[in-house]
Symmetry: C2
């Protein structure tokens, strides 16, 4: 093994895939997003990063709400579609059947197995940290309510084997979740340095 420098980059393998829902000028809009992360557990909080010119950013700043929807394998084509086309150029309000929850302004996707509606807590403009002219905005939002169909639930949470989410790799490919590897916070107990 010999380590070589490669160009500095965002080599996270793999990334989750989400669909971010917002209302823009009163109409639902959705965007595919892999730059999504959990940042707190109690209360549940996410951070999502989206380029400042995106229609989604307009909606989040307009309503201070957004939704995170987890698509399943069968939704990969439509997920890619809403990632390709901007709400500025095309009205995406009819792409999905939509429902609203407690926050009233965060549209959620009925066909997505898991939906979370979030209230914006904080916005960080990355360009202020990097002294660049444009950049991504980091939106930190608290999950106010979460939704799933009973058919996806096991032990009170959505079951990954039923949800069938998929992942993204930075060479621009989508992949299924594969075989079970082991139990977390458990299998490490057996570790002995070789």
């Amino acid at each position: 093994m010999s380590k070589n420098k490669i160009r500095p980059g965002v080599y996270l393998y793999p990334m989750p895939v989400s669909l971010i829902g917002t209302n823009v000028n009163g109409k639902p809009n959705f965007m595919a997003l892999a730059w999504v992360n959990v940042v707190e557990f109690k209360p549940p909080i996410f951070a999502i990063a989206s380029y400042e010119t995106h229609h989604t950013n307009v909606g989040i700043k307009e309503n201070r709400t957004f939704s995170i929807n987890i698509p399943s394998e069968g939704m990969v084509e439509v997920t890619d579609y809403v990632g390709l086309v901007s709400g500025k150029d095309l009205d995406k309000s009819e792409v999905f059947e939509v429902f609203y929850g407690d926050l009233k302004t965060a549209p959620m996707i009925t066909s997505a197995p898991v939906n979370m509606e979030c209230k914006l807590l904080k916005r960080i403009a990355m360009k202020e940290l990097t002294n660049t002219e444009k950049g991504h905005e980091l939106f930190i939002g608290e999950v106010i309510s979460a939704y799933a169909d009973d058919s996806y639930i096991k032990n009170k949470i959505p079951d990954i084997s039923k949800v069938k989410p998929f992942v993204y790799s930075i060479d621009n490919n989508y992949w299924k979740v594969g075989e079970h590897l082991g139990k977390a916070f458990s299998m490490g107990k057996n570790y002995k340095k070789g």
Copy 2:
């Protein structure tokens, strides 16, 4: 399909798995972390969230540097091990063969296929947003240098099929990355609403 409310939570399916490297009191320390996210591309920037009492947080605040290492399938047991045991209770400096790069204080794991060393740009204490007594800290760090062995590289970036990363689900399981589903920013062009 009928949507039901479930308990608000961090239902991200699935999450990536990383190993965060820090120096604490001059000794390398590593922690498994799924709460890791890309937040900017140019320059490359990550956000990672770690509970404030973690040894890792001490190291990041001490040196203003940390590393993100992507483990492969074969490292799942040792990844879980360093996620189970705190550096406060056990010296983890001998668990991995370590190397240092340009930042000098961000230890990286030789056996991990991909390594990125990051310079801290900003820290956010989540408890200040939530009015709770304790909480996670969000560390925003720029990738200064990245490393990989030639054997993992294809078209100048690490190849997911060679890296063989794995993912985590919140029911505490690890999973392999599975079958190829399609080409991103491409397959959506064929989408027609049914």
